[in-house]
């Protein structure tokens, strides 16, 4: 990938936008990452994490890229004041730190939480949105794929991007990433029209959009080591972008 001066300087420029948590909503999830909801000063509520398998930078970049094309919840850097976490042992590691936030989406459920045997009526789950999520997760090389389903509209979003192949610099798309589900996905989602449209969206993402998503990421141990990591992720994403169509043709 050519390193245009303008793009490189944006990637390396310091500072980053962030929101501040105002108060906690509910308890930590009790999962590995111990995510917890906080209402923030931008008026939105975020699921906030303080660490990730590949670092919070992976979550942030995937969330920014995905939300720019409407396929993931919006992502943010969330500062959590210590006063909000002092009395709760599970939240000790959140206090006075910049954490990762994924916006809480109304009317959504995590598909993996549904019990086996759940059976949706034909047309309940949007096949085009499902195809979009599969294509997105295949493009980035998502591991531990999860999907949010909107219970009102049947639309879906990709979720939880702790670990993905492109972030580790892997620029080869070798397989299709489908979220393991306790129920049947929409049968029509593999129709070529939907898949092709989904690939069009991914192929339409400009290099400058990728750079914007990977810029202004905190350089700290729990985020990214340095901007070189972000550059490597962008390079891999660009390389994978050209392979997705051929790989998805096998679906």
């Amino acid at each position: 990938m050519d390193c245009e001066t303008g793009l490189c300087s944006e990637l390396a420029s310091p500072g980053y936008p962030r929101v501040t948590a105002l108060h906690r909503i509910g308890n930590p999830t009790g999962t590995r990452t111990g995510a917890c909801r906080f209402m923030c000063d931008d008026g939105a509520t975020y699921w906030v994490k303080h660490w990730g398998v590949c670092g919070l930078g992976a979550e942030l970049i995937a969330g920014r890229v995905g939300s720019s094309i409407g396929l993931t919840p919006p992502a943010a850097i969330v500062f959590v004041p210590r006063a909000l976490t002092e009395s709760i042992s599970e939240l000790e590691d959140f206090g006075d730190r910049d954490c990762f936030g994924s916006r809480d989406m109304p009317d959504c459920v995590n598909a993996r939480d549904l019990v086996a045997g759940t059976s949706f009526a034909s047309g309940a789950l949007s096949p085009s949105h499902w195809a979009n999520v599969v294509v997105f997760q295949t493009w980035i090389g998502h591991r531990d794929q999860q999907v949010l389903i909107n219970i009102r509209t049947g639309e879906s979003l990709s979720l939880d991007h702790e670990e993905w192949d492109a972030f580790n610099g892997d620029s080869k798309v070798d397989d299709i990433r489908e979220t393991p589900l306790p129920f049947q996905p929409p049968p029509d989602c593999k129709i070529s029209t939907y898949v092709s449209a989904a690939v069009d969206v991914v192929e339409g993402i400009k290099d400058s959009n990728l750079v914007t998503a990977a810029s202004h990421v905190p350089c700290a141990s729990e985020w990214v080591r340095d901007s070189g990591v972000c550059w490597s992720a962008i390079t891999a994403l660009k390389g994978r972008r050209n392979q997705v169509r051929n790989v998805m043709a096998r679906w």
Partner: protein, 256 residues
């Protein structure tokens, strides 16, 4: 006396505001020998929630677990409470005495779920729509709710398993004792007329009449709506006339 644990399944449209609507109650024994779930139709909570039937399918999946030999136990219920933390949530399991499993489940359902929707009695349009759709589905008519056709949204589209006729339905209820204003139903009816005119669908109306607990305005508006349907040449049936297979067959008549 047995002991059990119960949780309430709630729909929380906005977790920040935490304004929940109770959808179902689940009752389990400690180790899964007994238990059950009782739920209301999502249509009686919100028409938009019922539109695609996703919530009802999710509840159906839970109900299927109770058909199995080993039913969910308190640990599984605790797990659901821990993991379902988005728009559908389970409250933390609470201990309850269980003199009789079915009776206790019904009591809990009436206390926590059914009660918040019964009000002064009566049925909303969404509730009537839900019942009509279940009746149609029972007879293989494949109803679809809130269908977008062209520029319009039709409350229910249903197809006949006996012929090729498809019908677009407008379903309203005047059986709402606490409702004072009926302009919204009159406007929805006018919208339906416009849709029928533009889309050239086979129309049908289901109109639940007011009960003797309803206000005078309900009776006046009901009479007006029926006159409108008559002048438009659209059949308007009360929901109690839709039940038997014959009555449902008769719904699917192509407009001349």
């Amino acid at each position: 006396m047995d002991k059990g644990y119960f949780s309430i399944l709630r729909w929380v449209p906005d977790v920040t505001r935490d304004e929940a609507r109770n959808l179902a109650v689940v009752l389990v024994s400690e180790s899964g020998e007994q238990g059950g779930i009782k739920a209301i139709s999502s249509g009686s909570v919100s028409t938009s929630l019922a539109k695609l039937g996703i919530v009802d399918a999710i509840v159906g999946g839970l109900a299927a677990r109770f058909e199995e030999e080993v039913k969910p136990d308190v640990h599984e219920l605790q797990g659901l409470h821990a993991s379902w933390q988005q728009s559908l949530q389970f409250t933390a399991p609470r201990l309850t005495m269980v003199p009789d499993w079915e009776q206790t489940l019904t009591t809990l359902f009436r206390s926590y779920v059914a009660k918040s929707h019964s009000g002064a009695g009566g049925q909303t349009s969404a509730q009537v729509q839900g019942r009509v759709c279940r009746m149609l589905e029972k007879h293989g008519c494949k109803p679809q709710q809130n269908v977008r056709l062209g520029d319009f949204r039709i409350p229910v589209m249903a197809s006949s398993p006996w012929s090729k006729v498809e019908v677009g339905m407008n379903i309203t209820s005047f059986a709402q004792p606490t409702k004072r204003e009926w302009l919204d139903i009159e406007q929805d009816t006018a919208y339906f007329f416009r849709a029928v005119d533009k889309l050239e669908i086979n129309p049908l109306a289901v109109v639940a009449p007011p009960t003797n607990k309803c206000r005078q305005e309900a009776f006046a508006s009901h009479e007006l709506i029926l006159k409108w349907y008559e002048s438009e040449g659209i059949r308007a049936l009360p929901p109690q006339e839709i039940g038997s297979e014959d009555s449902i067959r008769n719904l699917f008549v192509a407009r001349p």
